[in-house]
């Protein structure tokens, strides 16, 4: 057990050190997070009549701005990026060097990615803490201790789900040669279906009911709404249960794709 922890701990560490080598890139990635928040805030500000207290899609103006800010931070937290490395490893045959070693490739990539992301994650969590304070003190949206704990748990679920989703998308590389376009297309569709751009209520009740059953909502909208106190207490457990089911389904899918993919990789060669 200690050996396994050491393997993945070292994978995490190498990801972290790799990320620190590129500090400027890191700084720009934080800056780039600001622009969608500004654009969406401007959009909602123009849609709401000033001072009327009206609601759009069930959100007051303050709630909508709170949703926009928190959803953006959450989407930063769960955002992947390892799928390009996965694809390169498959396409160039770089996967070989891991297959001959006594380490699981999934765990290795997961922990390297966690390490790569950890500095950005730390900073985003600080921003989230500030956002929580602003929700409470400025916008008058109370955040209870219980909600904060539920939010923290939902973030772990959200990260795992998003990782599994993009892991499955990334494994398309076993069958398709050029899939950069697929990643971008998938990212846009998934972020939209996750409520990362607008709350899912915007799409109307039928679409929202359907999207509620899919795994994507749990990657952004569910944590965001938990923090903003928009999910009735009675429904929280059921939502968590559904998200666990999706983790199970996607894990099974990822395993099946991996074993079929690796058979193909070993058969086709590189």
């Amino acid at each position: 057990m200690g050996d396994v922890a050491a393997k993945y701990g070292r994978s995490f560490s190498i990801g972290l050190r790799g990320a620190i080598e590129y500090r400027l890139n890191f700084a720009f990635s934080i800056l780039s997070a600001v622009s969608p928040v500004v654009i969406q805030t401007a959009l909602w500000t123009s849609l709401y009549s000033p001072g009327s207290g009206e609601t759009l899609f069930g959100f007051t103006y303050a709630q909508m701005i709170a949703y926009t800010v928190v959803a953006n931070l959450v989407s930063r937290l769960v955002r992947t990026g390892f799928e390009y490395e996965l694809n390169t490893d498959i396409r160039t045959g770089g996967l070989d060097r891991y297959l001959v070693k006594p380490i699981g490739y999934f765990g290795f990539r997961l922990f390297v990615f966690l390490g790569t992301k950890s500095t950005q994650t730390g900073l985003t969590l600080v921003l989230l803490a500030i956002a929580t304070w602003v929700l409470n003190a400025v916008l008058g949206i109370p955040v209870s201790v219980a909600a904060a704990f539920a939010f923290a748990a939902s973030l772990v679920v959200a990260f795992l789900l998003n990782f599994l989703i993009f892991w499955c998308v990334g494994m398309a590389g076993f069958w398709l040669t050029e899939i950069g376009f697929l990643f971008e297309a998938a990212r846009i569709v998934i972020i939209t279906a996750s409520g990362g751009i607008f709350p899912l209520a915007v799409f109307g009740p039928t679409a929202q009911a359907a999207l509620n059953m899919l795994p994507f909502r749990f990657t952004i909208q569910f944590p965001t709404e938990l923090l903003c106190g928009r999910i009735p207490t009675g429904q929280i457990a059921a939502d968590f249960a559904l998200s666990f089911v999706w983790i199970g389904v996607l894990t099974a899918l990822a395993r099946a794709l991996w074993s079929a993919g690796i058979r193909r990789f070993a058969a086709v060669g590189s």
Binding site: D3, A6, R10, G94, D96, R97, A267, G269
Partner: protein
């Protein structure tokens, strides 16, 4: 005791025929013709502990495919193989802990980090005790003379320096079997020699079994007592390196330098005529005929220099590839 055993191992690849032109591309979208290429055709051999075996063949002969099957990266189409008693493509942990593969054209080091970070990762992956790791690394650092390279970002190193570190990374867990696929490719002569010295020392010190592919014959001549030659997926020779030229040893290369140009028509009348390059001509002559041949050309032609040489190893290998010599 056999460390590597290969029994009628075969591997074929399917691929699609693609012709040039837009029309052909569009037709390919609807119906593609599948072709099969047999990369490795039922090869068998066995390698004992501590042997350093050269695995040679022209491009596309099946060398890398065979190494990949033995390292467990690729499944065979048919046949069997055992490495350290394991079926390699089952990729059991016990086997993965005891083998290593170094591919000259593929790096296992993290380019953005100093090599020592990748070494530390390997230490964790191969579950090496800290004290043992420090001891082995210290030994390898001294042997490879790489102390100064450890803290440098890998992508800032020269190819030769990087290759030394690649090999060190592969040796930290003291593999019993080491597969080296073109470890000296692209290296200058000095670096090639360093890598060769290292492989030799390694084999002598740890009795590591080494299977080596290389296009550079000096690698093979320096390191391997035994060679396996493969061409078009079939083994054409398996035996001592000295045996490669055994049949050719009955012939010599005679090289002549002329003081004035001699027509090719004239030269081709002599038996064993091979080539003419400016004022230099070469002939392949039976050992017993060399004396008479030399006397005749000295009398007949404007010869200013005459040298008699052994036929180079390359020629012997090329002859084996062409199937001109008996197999070992």
């Amino acid at each position: 005791m056999a460390i590597i055993e290969v029994d009628r191992l075969s591997r074929s690849f399917r691929y699609y025929e693609k012709q040039g032109g837009l029309g052909a591309s569009l037709r390919n979208l609807v119906a593609r013709r599948t072709l099969v290429r047999e990369a490795v055709k039922g090869i068998s051999f066995s390698i004992g502990e501590g042997e350093v075996v050269g695995f040679l063949g022209p491009n596309g002969a099946g060398k890398t495919t065979t190494l990949k099957m033995l390292a467990g990266i690729m499944h065979p189409t048919s046949g069997a193989a055992h490495v350290l008693g394991h079926v390699p493509w089952q990729r059991k942990k016990d086997l993965r802990m005891r083998i290593a593969i170094v591919m000259g054209q593929r790096s296992q080091l993290w380019p953005d980090l100093p090599a020592v970070e990748s070494f530390e990762l390997n230490r964790a992956i191969y579950e090496i005790e800290r004290a043992e790791y420090s001891r082995v690394l210290g030994e390898l650092v001294e042997l490879f003379d790489i102390g100064g390279l450890l803290p440098v970002q890998v992508r800032r190193l020269s190819l030769g320096e990087r290759m030394k570190l690649e090999i060190v990374a592969a040796l930290l867990h003291k593999p019993r079997v080491l597969f080296l696929d073109e470890p000296t490719i692209g290296l200058d002569l000095l670096s090639q020699r360093t890598i060769r010295d290292l492989v030799r020392t390694l084999n002598q010190r740890y009795r590591t079994t080494v299977m080596l592919t290389s296009h550079y014959l000096s690698d093979i001549e320096d390191l391997c007592e035994r060679v396996i030659l493969i061409n078009r997926g079939t083994i054409v020779y398996d035996g001592p390196l000295t045996g490669v030229n055994a049949t050719l040893a009955e012939r010599k290369t005679v090289r002549l330098v002329f003081s004035a140009p001699v027509a090719q028509d004239v030269l081709s009348q002599y038996t064993g005529y091979q080539s003419l390059d400016g004022l230099t001509a070469s002939f392949e002559v039976e050992r017993s005929e060399v004396r008479a041949f030399s006397r005749k050309v000295l009398d007949d032609l404007p010869v200013v220099d005459l040298t008699i040489e052994e036929i180079p190893l390359e020629e012997g290998i090329a002859a084996l590839y062409r199937g001109e010599l008996p197999r070992g």
